[in-house]
Symmetry: none
DNA sequence: ACGTAATCGAGACGGTACGTCCTGTCTTCCA
DNA sequence: TGGAAGACAGGACGTACCGTCTCGATTACGT
């Protein structure tokens, strides 16, 4: 839409300001959290006028969405040729992203906002969930193609279950064992009924 | 502990006021939602002085927690003698509770607050999760005792997965089919490996 | 009115409480001042229930009036036989009373309240001003009788002038010299035209 | 000092708001009086946000001081060439100012606040007292220069006495005669010892 | 070189809600 | 009945942000 109108008459926006704003948002998100993040504080911390924020973002949520958007990590779909090597790499990425301080803040925030604000839910859905869903599908379908998994696998259901598990563990962290281990066990449990004939592979643990 | 000391010196609190406050909170939660619920509005709607609210609850969150606490539905653990009859009753209860307007509001709120406020997380954990976890355990263990399921069932994992699924579907409602149906399918999928026809399979671990 | 009804059915009032209240008022008057004196604070400091204060005094001003009433210093009218010895004793008394911490507080308070509250003005008038006016009249009339002053002296005017001077100096303290000295000079100036050497001047009026 | 820097960065203050605020203060002072004047009421009556008041004035007293400051009447020093014509004009001005409803309110307030708040005392001293003191000095010195009064006149003392008398009569109004008459008699009494040789001028009354 | 037009800082403005403090009344138990 | 304790409705406090606005100063671009 409106293909980046190339004739921006008037003084162009200072990209320094852009960066300062989003940086301040990230900084404040990790320190005071979503609820206590005020635009006034962002302006102060960024050394920027309030007007410069309101000019760019219509609402507080839009501002925050933009901030976490630029900090969104790249998603790499592994292709090692082996199901579990692929999955382990995915789990590793997830651990990096979702279990950092900012990552947990972000995720928790998303959970809180998704229901309230359809707009937020949509952003999260498009930017986070869809790509990961697609990545999961790619990996699993490759495994099916290789004959590692049976074709009757319900990818959607498994994705939803793992995704929900991430939410559950984000809100109520485990105390007994590292999250990554628990995650892997869950994944093994979910995939186990679908291993193909060479059943001896099941022992892998 | 401190068994409700029965000699509360001074004028006793008016229970009418208690009810008015919590009622107003519930009412406002369903209308304007968590974020826009102001204590001022609660006081007005309840026909009560602001001080009477602050006297009872130290923070807004405590107030809201109390309000949804009293509106918490009773949890009934079914015992029909049949696994799937029990499970269907549980699912039905969950549908009633979690998919009503207030239920979804509440759940979404909890998700959003649990990470922010440890206090909230704890309340939710103790009041909601623990009882349901226990209920699930009871039902499944009865089924195991009856020989319907194999004993190597990982109840915790299955509970976490279902619980997470609830979160996922709360945040991102399905459009393809009713939630209850999807839930049931998930449950079937998770329990399927544990059906107990060939008793000799039990040793596998 | 209602001459101290001697049949106080029920439990008699605890005079300990009376004293505690008035003491707390005086204490708070000198520390936080009139404006910031709250009944709540009086109750706390006196170790007394708010009710016990309201039962005794209808308004805050009444309470304060009562407190400074009991602390009112006795007025002694000197009679040395010499005009200036009498006056010096009066000035000394005034210095003690009006220039102490509590005295200045009280006086300033009275000045501030007299205009606002007719009731306060009346109390001050009756309890403070009238007695002092009378004392002044007694002293000066004795001097006239002794022939030290001429009889055409306008006592009222001189009293008003000295009284006003007290107010003025209370509000705007002198920096150049001690108040007592200034007062004495004022008095000398006011009485000077009335010294009585040539007795034939008396007829002028 | 700091000569009114003419480059006030940021949006300039709306002078309309200034006027509305101070107007409301004056209005409320005359109606409800000093003690019951609430900032909330000022904001409401002025049709202005509370913040706009707090932005300008740090305390309630500062606000009130500013309000009566702008309503301060101009002081005109008469110069008729005759002592008593000058004095009568001054008395007339004083009567107008100090005996109006607002004038009495103001004066009473000043008396009450001067002791409590040094700030208030200073304002009153600089804005009210000093100018009037100077005016008195000018008039009396002119009279001395013209030979109407003797040079040994203690202007400060006479000013203090008259000033104090004003306070006294403000607090305790006369009932026997108009204030102006009493004032004039006091002035005559104070100046009488200083009339110069042509003693026949004394009869002026 | 000069107007046009947008950006940026600073901060005023009308608002809403906050959480605290105090008021004066009341209700309850204990002595 | 008096007194201690404290709940209650209500009012104002002073503060923090909200989102909008009005400024002067700056920075580009097309004449």
């Amino acid at each position: 839409m409106s293909q980046a109108l190339p004739c921006p008459i008037g003084r162009p926006r200072c990209s320094e300001v852009d960066r300062a704003i989003l940086g301040a948002v990230i900084s404040l998100l990790t320190t005071v959290g979503y609820h206590r993040l005020s635009i006034e504080a962002v302006a102060t911390q960024a050394g920027v006028a309030k007007t410069s924020i309101y000019r760019r973002y219509a609402t507080r949520d839009e501002l925050i969405a933009a901030a976490i958007e630029v900090n969104r990590p790249a998603l790499v779909i592994p292709d090692t040729g082996d199901l579990w090597q692929d999955l382990d790499q995915v789990l590793e990425q997830a651990a990096e992203v979702d279990l950092s301080a900012l990552g947990r803040q972000t995720l928790a925030m998303m959970l809180g906002l998704a229901s309230t604000s359809p707009r937020f839910a949509q952003i999260y859905w498009q930017r986070y969930l869809m790509p990961r869903h697609k990545a999961a599908a790619v990996i699993l379908e490759r495994a099916i193609a290789r004959g590692e998994l049976s074709a009757d696998l319900n990818i959607d259901l498994i994705f939803d279950l793992m995704c929900g598990l991430l939410y559950k563990l984000t809100l109520f962290p485990l105390e007994t064992e590292p999250v990554e281990v628990y995650f892997r066990r869950a994944l093994e449990f979910l995939l186990q009924p679908h291993y193909h004939q060479p059943p001896q592979a099941v022992e892998a643990d």
